[in-house]
């Protein structure tokens, strides 16, 4: 039925072109699979939730230039003002914005003292409105009370007595039993005791490339600073409308400061992953271009070899080949070339992946991806050779007697 044997033997006598195309297929496969792999890595990073109600959050910075300024009173006024505006769900002062790339980190350790192992954690300073403003899900313990909130002067280096940690942080402290973190005392800044009074499900650190991005903590601080940030949560759908209103209200309420950088969290996310998105687009472009080049290579080789074999094709037709059988010949020939290509390509893809994984500490390639890549290249090959194969099938059987 299938003429794989003779097609293979005929290929062996004309191997240079076939091998070059097979190598091109191999290269395409290995790059394609690893590029998709890298795209997947980025996409899954981008898909991680920050834990925040991102769609309804925005923030702004408040820069004070007035002298003899009462920061504590001004903060209380500002928060009262913002929280009172219709459409605002809640607001808090915060020291750092998740996903923004800038923030504070500290280490938590089980025992006090220098030289003890500590686990890095992002620190967010908020008041008792923090959890509700950010839209975090408290899964254990309780929120800060008003009485927990400490005023933190600009020169202070001490830490409050309580903290709420993310589940991932709790898990890092107490592997396999994150719930047991609740109520435990750990040490910050080497020897200041902090009691874990609550656990939130998810709260990402500001740095999306950090391997501890899921580890974070909330501490009940209001800060004395000439440059503070307020983060504001609105009712769904009202964010864009409220952003200028609040900016204006704050600016007009106090002439000793300026309100700047009013930014939605969605924009911050986009900024944060801009290079991820750009790189994914470039990788996609590389895949598309490589695939096209390979497809054109296949078309070119097939057209060339069909033109060279016109008389042979006419002879086959004269000997009884139907048009379909002629087409099938070239499709099968392409299948054989592709098989060589995908075998080499699969080996190269895995090799390249092992290198990538060891170099960048990634999870290894999923075998399914390789299978998909192999099938995709078989498909590309068959589609590419379809047109030349049809041309071949259209060669008249009379070519056998006519061309000399």
């Amino acid at each position: 039925m299938f003429e794989l044997g003779p097609i293979f033997r005929a290929l062996l006598r004309q191997k240079v072109g076939a091998i070059l195309i097979a190598l091109q297929i191999a290269l395409t496969l290995s790059i394609m699979v690893n590029a998709i792999f890298m795209m997947q890595q980025r996409s899954s990073q981008m898909a991680r939730p920050s834990g925040l109600d991102e769609a309804n959050l925005f923030y702004l910075s408040n820069t004070v230039f007035g002298q003899n300024y009462n920061h504590e009173a001004a903060l209380a006024d500002d928060l009262r003002l913002i929280r009172g505006i219709p459409g605002v769900v809640n607001a808090t002062q915060i020291n750092a914005i998740p996903l923004s790339g800038g923030g504070w980190s500290m280490g938590l350790q089980h025992k006090a003292g220098e030289g003890e192992n500590s686990i890095g954690v992002a620190v967010y300073m908020v008041d008792d409105h923090g959890i509700n403003t950010l839209g975090l899900e408290l899964i254990a313990g309780e929120n800060f009370q008003l009485t927990d909130i400490e005023w933190r002067p600009a020169t202070s280096v001490s830490w409050p007595a309580r903290a709420i940690v993310s589940q991932a942080m709790a898990e890092s402290l107490y592997p396999g039993a994150y719930q047991s973190a609740l109520g435990k005392t750990v040490y910050i800044n080497q020897n200041e005791a902090v009691q874990i009074s609550g656990i939130v499900k998810t709260l990402q650190a500001p740095w999306n490339g950090w391997d501890g991005v899921e580890r974070s903590m909330l501490v009940p601080f209001q800060m004395e600073t000439r440059n503070s940030r307020y983060i504001i949560r609105t009712e769904p759908g009202r964010r864009d409308e409220l952003m200028p209103i609040i900016e204006k209200a704050l600016a007009e309420s106090d002439k000793n400061r300026i309100i700047r950088n009013v930014t939605s969290l969605e924009d911050t996310r986009e900024d944060s992953y801009r290079s991820h998105n750009a790189l994914n687009k470039i990788l996609l472009l590389v895949i598309v271009i490589l695939t096209l080049i390979t497809a054109f290579g296949i078309v070119g080789l097939a057209m060339f070899s069909i033109n060279r074999r016109r008389r042979q094709i006419g002879t086959r037709r004269a000997l009884g080949a139907t048009q379909l059988q002629v087409m099938r010949y070239f499709m099968l020939e392409n299948f054989l070339i592709s098989t060589l290509g995908v075998v080499i390509g699969a080996i190269a893809a895995v090799g390249l992946n092992i290198w990538l994984v060891s170099k960048f500490e990634l999870a290894p390639l999923e075998p399914q991806l390789l299978v998909v890549g192999v099938l995709a290249l078989y498909l590309v090959g068959q589609l590419a050779v379809f047109y030349p194969a049809r041309k071949a099938a259209a060669i008249s059987p009379a070519t056998a007697t006519r061309s000399v």
Binding site: P6, G320, A321, Q323, A398, T401
Partner: protein, 246 residues
């Protein structure tokens, strides 16, 4: 087994129309050996191509084994070629990348025989043309005469009842031409109908029946062997005497 009535073939190239065949009336009986001669460009190959279903006539009627070939689909004609017709070409048309075994195998695969049957037929045919020991050789490793023998083996492997040859000895020296002709005569004796186009009048006259094509028109030569049109060579006379004596 072959019947042509008022058959015509016109080629259109751009604005030029070439009447390659005109009003051909011809009947060929089972078991016949017909030689076709005629000047270059007279339509011999066109006639053979139509007889062998490689081309379709522009007008007229063509029955092969009683079937109206003009009305058949391309794939039906392909199957008929494979089952009923064997082809031999002037330049052998062996597939250069395939060894002799695979070359003879080509039509057998299209026929759909199983591997065992194909092997049996290939060996038998190569044996018949005296090349069984060369099965693994490539065509380029053979002489012209040997290549044409392989082509004949390939043409006969499917046991066609009808063998068409377009100047099968055109590329061979006279000694090889003689041996190929002897082989064809042998095949004809076994019952295969043969139509052979040739420029060699000596060989043409060894056929049971001769036709002449001139300007696309077919005429019978068998009855009027010594028509002045022919440059009759001494050897040809000898052969025609033989044929006349049959």
């Amino acid at each position: 087994m072959l019947l042509m009535k008022q058959l015509g073939k016109v080629f259109h190239t751009g604005e030029v129309s070439t009447h390659a065949l005109r009003e051909v009336d011809l009947e060929v009986q089972e078991g016949d050996f017909v030689s076709v001669t005629g000047p270059s460009g007279s339509g011999k190959t066109t006639f053979l191509n139509i007889a062998g279903l490689l081309e379709v006539a522009s007008s007229g009627l063509f029955l092969l084994d009683g079937e109206n070939v003009n009305q058949q689909s391309d794939s039906q004609r392909s199957k008929m070629r494979n089952q009923k017709i064997g082809f031999i070409f002037q330049s052998f048309n062996l597939i250069p990348e395939l060894n002799l075994f695979d070359n003879v195998d080509v039509p057998l695969r299209y026929r759909g025989f199983d591997a065992k049957e194909r092997k049996r037929r290939i060996e038998q045919q190569l044996e018949l043309v005296g090349l069984a020991s060369r099965m693994k050789h490539l065509p380029s490793q053979l002489s012209g005469g040997q290549q044409q023998r392989v082509a004949i083996a390939r043409a006969l492997a499917t046991s066609p009842r009808f063998l068409l040859a377009d100047e099968p000895t055109g590329n061979l020296d006279s000694q090889m031409a003689q041996s190929v002709m002897a082989l064809l005569e042998d095949i004809n004796r076994q019952g295969t109908t043969i139509i052979m186009v040739t420029h060699d009048h000596g060989l043409a006259q060894r056929a049971k029946r001769q036709i002449l094509i001139k300007d696309g028109r077919v005429s019978e030569l068998t009855a009027t062997l010594h028509e002045p049109l022919h440059i009759v060579s001494p050897s040809a006379t000898e052969h025609s005497a033989k044929v006349a004596g049959v």
